[in-house]
């Protein structure tokens, strides 16, 4: 089972992007998550100051009620 599939619900990534405005910061955050292979993504927080933006982006791997990746037959997480 890949590491991503062992994420309980969501993966948060925080970064400081050098950018010109807050919208660009958000776009960069979303682009980063796309590059990392996350599809269900959102900007949780973005704040612009000085040379760039502090951004927290989130990729949901397992939303409540979905078919959880860590529960699949092969390598399912037990006794945890």
């Amino acid at each position: 089972m890949r590491a991503k599939e062992r994420i309980l619900d969501a993966c948060d990534i925080e970064a400081f992007f050098l950018c010109d405005d807050i919208e660009e910061g958000k776009r960069l955050g979303m682009a980063l998550m796309g590059e990392l292979g996350f599809s269900d993504v959102d900007v949780v927080f973005c704040e612009m100051a000085g040379p760039g933006a502090r951004v927290r982006v989130r990729g949901y791997v397992n939303r409540p009620g979905s078919a959880y990746t860590w529960q699949r037959e092969e390598g399912a997480v037990h006794d945890r």
Binding site: L8, D9, D12, E14, F45, P64, G65, Y68, V77
Partner: protein, 609 residues
């Protein structure tokens, strides 16, 4: 026979660093407290000097520390080689620790163990004692807290007390002549469960038919046709089996997370899915929470009746059914508190019954909040709410009386008047209510400038005034810090932690917290957001310790104003002579305040036969 693990060991501690030796000193203390013989060397010795001392001491453990990072790998590799050459490795374990150390690096360099940042002295002492990995992961013997123990519910403020008692007695008398579909279903639910337990299948089926005739909307369709309730689906057998895989029938232990061990921090859950809830509860208890509050979907509160079975829900809130609750209960440690809320909606008496049947420790009741801030018709909730108080008393189930109508804009003086009346009614009926003032930045506080200077005074004033009125437990919520958090993780966790620490330092029995995702509306709360917040609460409690937080003199003035406002509100309600009419007429909060009498369940109350 002596256990070798606990035998006294000789330890040589040496900071291989020009100046930094605080960590080594702390470890030396921890080791000495356990009876080990420790030789602590000064900083800035050369590797040769340390090896020379080691040959004199003949230790069981040679522990060196390193904080600065430059030149570290080369230095440590050379030191390990020198120990080898001196023959020390045959009799001593070689250990390195410090801010620049990683476990993997230590092993690559030939050390037996490496301890990096965030290592506690106790962990190092555990390693020496041979118990490393046991105590840090060990459960502790927690006892389930009783938040109501020792409280008399006697009024200290006799003027306010007399008004509360008169109004509460009037409410109880008024409700005694009335009933509702919610009360009837609660009775039927008990009978259904009794029949099932007694193996009376036909009777259970007949009672279930009567139950379904008292339901409405999507729940009625579910009973009559089996049609799914929107946005829900039954849990699959695999999902249900996840509980077996998770706990093998035994709840996960409570893990020691000082200083949270000694306080009652309760967290909310309700992801929609019992399986995900189970993980969120387990990780919260592992990170120091003492209990969990079940959040159900808001639509459930507006529908007559509750379904049966295990369900997953695609949106916020986990569906209230006995089967869902029983599944979730399996994950709650026996020493942890578990609350199932019955404070608003059309199913409150049955919710108290389910809470009891599923083994909950607490419920939540407030007629005023549910009527003015959560959409339930005041007449209906007054009848159902008093039934909840009766049932909670019968089941020995304590409950909080929450004042979340403050979030709608209702001033604290009016919300507290309502809370006190409901709590008084509860105590008169033999129950154990807990006062739950909002610890947050309410619209009233912001508009009035109560929180312009600081967020301590107004919250402290609430505790001061309640302590002066009645001898009852206080449990701020719910959750603390509401409307102070932003989507910024650090800010959100900090505000939650400070509100929690304030409440606990002011003597509250417990606090309910959310997570650092509280202000994020884009998706479900993440597991790491819960951990962040619990870590922040722990850090804030560590910071304040047993010291007292001193509000400014303004808190006393606010408390005096609050008392005056509570008295005025109660006097008006008393003069009106009708608790329920007072709800409709805005005496506990009017439209201008942001309070609107709810409509769900209107005209459903009938005379009790």
């Amino acid at each position: 026979m002596t256990d070798e693990r606990f035998a006294e060991k000789k330890v040589l501690l040496a900071p291989l660093d020009p100046v930094h030796d605080v960590g080594a000193k702390l470890i030396a203390r921890a080791l000495r407290e356990r009876g080990h013989e420790v030789t602590l060397l000064q900083p800035d010795l050369s590797p040769e000097e340390v090896v020379s001392r080691a040959r004199q001491v003949d230790p069981d453990f040679i522990m060196v520390s390193r904080t600065i990072s430059y030149g570290t790998p080369e230095l440590l590799a050379r030191f390990a080689d020198m120990c080898d050459a001196a023959g020390l490795r045959s009799s001593a374990k070689l250990v390195v620790g410090g801010m620049s150390i990683r476990k993997e690096t230590a092993q690559e360099l030939g050390f037996d163990a490496g301890f990096g940042p965030d290592t506690t002295p106790e962990e190092v002492a555990d390693y020496v004692s041979g118990t490393f990995g046991l105590s840090t992961l060990a459960s502790y013997e927690a006892v389930k807290p009783d938040l109501t123990r020792g409280y008399t519910y006697d009024f200290k403020d006799t003027e306010i007390g007399k008004l509360c008692l008169d109004i509460a007695r009037g409410l109880i008398d008024w409700s005694a002549e009335r009933t509702s579909p919610g009360i009837e279903r609660a009775r039927l639910r008990r009978e259904i469960e009794e029949a099932r337990l007694g193996g009376q299948v036909a009777l259970a089926s007949e009672l279930r038919g009567r139950y379904s005739s008292l339901t409405g909307g999507d729940v009625r369709k579910w009973y009559e046709t089996g049609e799914s309730i929107p946005h829900t689906r039954p849990l699959s057998p695999e999902e249900a089996a996840a509980f077996d895989a998770m706990d093998d029938g035994v709840p996960a232990p409570l893990l020691s997370q000082k200083p949270l061990d000694s306080v009652n921090v309760i967290m909310q859950y309700g992801t929609g899915c019992p399986v995900m809830d189970a993980y969120h509860i387990r990780l919260s208890l592992a990170w120091g929470a003492k209990g969990a509050v079940h959040f159900d979907p808001s639509w459930g509160a507006r529908t007559e009746g509750l379904a049966e079975g295990t369900f997953s829900h695609q949106h916020d809130g986990t569906v209230l059914t006995l089967e869902n609750l029983r599944l979730i209960k399996r994950t709650v440690h026996p020493a942890a508190l578990w609350q199932v809320r019955a404070h608003r909606g059309l199913n409150t008496p049955e919710t108290v019954v389910l809470a009891h049947l599923a083994g909950a420790d607490l419920t939540k009741v407030n007629i005023v909040y549910g009527s003015l801030g959560a959409g339930t018709d005041p007449t209906r909730l007054a009848v159902d709410g008093v039934e909840c108080l009766r049932l909670a008393a019968e089941f020995g189930l304590p409950y909080d009386v929450v004042t979340n109508e403050e979030l709608c804009g209702v001033p604290a003086r009016k919300a507290f008047a309502g809370m006190l009346v409901v709590a008084t009614a509860g105590a008169l009926l033999g129950g154990r209510p807990i006062l739950q003032p909002l610890f947050a930045d309410s619209p009233e506080a912001m508009v009035s400038g109560f929180t312009e200077d600081n967020l301590v005074d107004f919250n402290a004033a609430k505790v001061l005034v309640l302590n002066g009125i009645i001898d009852a437990p206080i449990w701020p919520g719910a959750p603390v810090g509401f409307m102070t958090q932003t989507q910024d993780r650090c800010q959100s966790a900090t505000m939650t932690a400070l509100h929690a620490a304030l409440g606990l330092r002011l003597g509250a029995e417990a606090v309910t917290i959310a997570s650092s995702d509280e202000a994020y509306a884009g998706g479900p709360i993440s597991a790491q957001a819960r951990v962040d917040t619990l870590k922040s609460v722990a850090a804030s409690l560590r910071f304040f310790g047993s010291s007292r937080i001193a509000p400014t003199a303004r808190a006393e003035e606010m408390a005096a104003d609050l008392r005056k406002g509570i008295l005025e509100t109660l006097t008006r309600v008393h003069e009106r002579g009708d608790f329920v009419a007072s709800l409709y007429e805005g005496l506990f909060g009017d439209r201008e305040d942001g309070a609107y009498p709810g409509r769900a369940g209107r005209d459903t109350v009938t005379a009790r036969r």
